[in-house]
């Protein structure tokens, strides 16, 4: 992130933040861990570049963060990260503007980290992951949003039996029937290898629905289970990945994990179908199917 405030700058801004630690940064966002009223929280700072003032970008950045917070507030599920105690506000650090708010701090590791560590989940773990993910997406769906960035990096395995997997980051969530936050000609936001085929259509906003998230969920679970992306190949160009997403049949999960129930593999494969109509219509429909699989 550009202009990431150092720990001392954040401490000066909010002396009440105890045990302050830098966690991560990327894009315009930096994340810190702090203890507030005895509880650890993830403090988020989003940089508002001064040049954004001129082209309407400032309003868009603020609207986007407001939308993320609104989406989280409207999703009453513990499968999604919860908001923290700090309400959204604009702060100034060394003359630069930032948005500040907090979420609960989640201890654990991302699915991406586990994939890198060549973790091989068993069926029970995969079933739990799929259940948590579908419950999270059902809440997103019922709130009238689409997550748009489901991927291994945005899922945290906590090790807690109550909340074993938690979905993060509604930063690019799309509100169905909501005001557009980006120009019509802008490409779809998201992480390319996890984007559903329909998102590469010029009119993607007209065809976007929760089935795009179901696709990304399928790709994520497939990759976590097998260590292999069902379509993308390591090191290839972005346009090659896009071509595969649009044209190439996805790998079949049963071919890579013959030890898993065929019906579970079929469920994941169905989520990854190119035609949205061939996927589950809602996360709940997939969840009902999952319930029938032992």
């Amino acid at each position: 992130m550009q202009n990431t405030p150092v720990i001392e700058e954040v401490r000066r801004l909010r002396p009440e933040f105890a045990d302050l630690e830098f966690v991560d940064s990327g894009g315009f966002k930096a994340v810190y861990k702090a203890t507030l009223a005895g509880h650890p929280e993830a403090v988020k700072l989003i940089y508002i570049p001064p040049e954004a003032e001129e082209d309407g970008g400032r309003a868009e950045i603020i609207a986007r963060v407001k939308r993320e917070i609104e989406a989280l507030r409207l999703c009453p599920t513990n499968r999604l990260v919860r908001l923290g105690s700090i309400e959204l506000q604009i702060v100034s650090i060394t003359g630069r503007d930032y948005l500040l708010y907090s979420e609960e701090f989640l201890a654990g590791e991302s699915l991406r980290a586990r994939i890198r560590a060549q973790h091989r989940p068993d069926y029970a773990e995969l079933r739990t992951l799929m259940t948590c993910l579908l419950e999270a997406l059902q809440a997103v769906h019922q709130s009238g949003h689409i997550h748009r960035d489901v991927k291994p990096d945005n899922l945290i395995a906590t090790g807690s039996p109550d909340r074993p997997f938690i979905l993060l980051d509604l930063g690019i969530a799309f509100k169905i029937h909501g005001t557009e936050l980006t120009a019509r000609h802008a490409g779809p936001p998201g992480t390319l290898a996890y984007m559903a085929p329909e998102l590469f259509q010029p009119n993607y906003k007209d065809v976007l629905d929760i089935r795009s998230d179901i696709y990304s969920a399928g790709v994520t679970v497939f990759e976590y289970a097998t260590g292999t992306h069902p379509l993308a190949r390591a090191g290839e160009t972005e346009y090659s990945t896009v071509w595969r997403i649009l044209n190439q049949p996805a790998l079949k999960m049963i071919d890579l994990r013959g030890d898993l129930p065929a019906s579970f593999c079929g469920l994941v494969d169905r989520c990854v179908k190119k035609l949205p109509a061939l996927r589950y219509a809602t996360p709940q429909a997939a969840w009902r199917q999952l319930e029938t699989i032992q």
Binding site: E198, V207, D209, R211, P249, R270, K273, K274, L275, P276, A277, L278, A281, A285
Partner: protein, 397 residues
């Protein structure tokens, strides 16, 4: 997969025999061939023979486009109060569509049908059309209006050409499976041919790999999304649609009940020709053959005979028109039982085998000098074989 009778002209005792002999699971009553005051009688008669029979009434609303056209033949349709021409420019308004649905509902809700077929207009050419948009409004409103607890099947009546544009077709499927208050199922009619074209032209247009593959995809997508699917005028394509996920198919005794065409609502030009000869549906040949062919073929290849009870009507004498109709339902019902499997991969493999065996049987007959019409048969079987491949590709299997 259930086999239903597609009701039409001159039913005589065909349907009652089919129900009594257990080769039919029900019927779809045509409002063109049934006066409003006779519909309930027809339903009661079917239920008397088989209390569990599926009895539905097709309001044939899609035929309203023929109202006011010269040489139309609409039979009793014009006696049904709902059968009024509504201009397309008015049907783009949701309120007008709801009123059209309500008018049909008023008439059919008093009938003892086991499920409702909700009306729709005909999609004549493309899913990217005003008609397709109107059709979607009919589908979207059906469940709200037809609300007496009985299952509701929304009609999708379309021209074959609509299935041939994959991008538009897939977009339609995506919209169809995202409706907020969908019906319980769909009643699908795929039509071919232009007005006044002969039924054999219509048949050859429907028996096309891309049309059948698309029709199968429509069944598959709807079944995958939890809808029940009835295919009108499906005839010998029934097992293909059943393998793809369809629940039922219908066929009748005249060619216009075996293959759908809007041409059925227009009087043919010139005098009517002779009645077609009686034919036999051979499961092995996956085809309908003439009596003289049956006798010659069966001497060379006994498997041309199905080994089913109605064979006796053909081997022991001259079958009647009723025998012919019942034999068709018997053969298709048996094909469905043998081919439609719970597992789609297994069902498709069986279809492949079935078509291969038909090709092999015809090759055997040809080797014995029986090559009349073999080119047409070969083309027909090629289309069926390719349809399975087309479907596999479209359904991403």
């Amino acid at each position: 997969m259930k086999v239903l009778a597609q009701n039409g002209h001159q039913p005589s005792n065909k349907i009652s025999e089919g129900l009594a002999q257990g080769v039919l699971d029900g019927l779809i009553i045509s409002t063109r061939y049934t006066a409003p005051d006779k519909a309930e009688e027809r339903i009661r008669e079917a239920k008397r023979i088989n209390a569990d029979a599926d009895v539905l009434v097709d309001p044939e609303y899609y035929a309203t486009r023929q109202l006011g056209t010269p040489n139309n033949q609409l039979g009793y349709l014009e006696d049904w109060p709902y059968f009024n021409a509504v201009p397309r420019r008015d049907l783009v308004r949701t309120g007008v569509v709801e009123e059209a649905l309500r008018q049909v509902w008023v008439e059919v809700s008093r009938l003892g049908v086991s499920a409702h077929i909700a009306p729709n207009i005909y999609i004549p050419q493309s899913f990217d059309s005003i008609e397709a948009g109107i059709a979607m409004n009919f589908i979207g409103g059906a469940k709200d209006i037809f609300a007496d607890g009985r299952p509701v099947y929304a009609t999708i009546a379309l021209d074959r050409r609509a299935l041939l544009n994959p991008a538009e077709f897939k977009s339609f499927l995506n919209d169809l499976t995202a409706l907020e208050n969908p019906p319980d199922g769909f009643y699908i009619l795929v039509g071919g041919g232009l007005i006044n074209e002969r039924s054999d032209v219509v048949h050859s247009e429907i028996v096309d790999a891309n049309v059948i593959g698309g029709w199968m995809l429509l069944n598959h997508v709807l079944a995958q999304n939890g809808f029940r699917v009835i295919n009108g005028c499906a005839d010998l394509l029934m097992p293909f649609l059943g393998v793809a996920g369809g629940d039922a198919g219908a066929t009748g005794w005249w060619s216009n009940l075996r293959v759908f065409s809007m041409g059925r609502y227009v009087k043919p030009e010139g005098p009517g020709g002779q009645l077609p000869t009686v034919r036999y549906v051979s499961k092995l040949l996956f085809n309908r053959i003439r009596l003289n062919e049956l006798r010659v073929y069966a001497e060379i290849l006994p498997g041309v005979l199905n080994g089913l009870p109605l064979d006796a009507k053909y081997t022991g004498g001259t079958p009647t028109r009723t025998d012919e109709a019942v034999q068709t339902w018997e053969a298709i019902s048996s094909l469905n039982t043998g081919l439609v499997a719970g597992d789609i991969a297994q069902g498709l493999a069986r279809l492949d085998d079935c078509v291969t065996q038909a090709r092999a049987a015809y090759a055997c007959l040809q080797s014995r000098g029986l090559s009349e019409g073999i080119e047409a048969v070969s083309e027909y079987l090629t289309q069926l074989a390719n349809a399975v491949q087309t479907f596999r590709r479209l359904a991403e299997l």
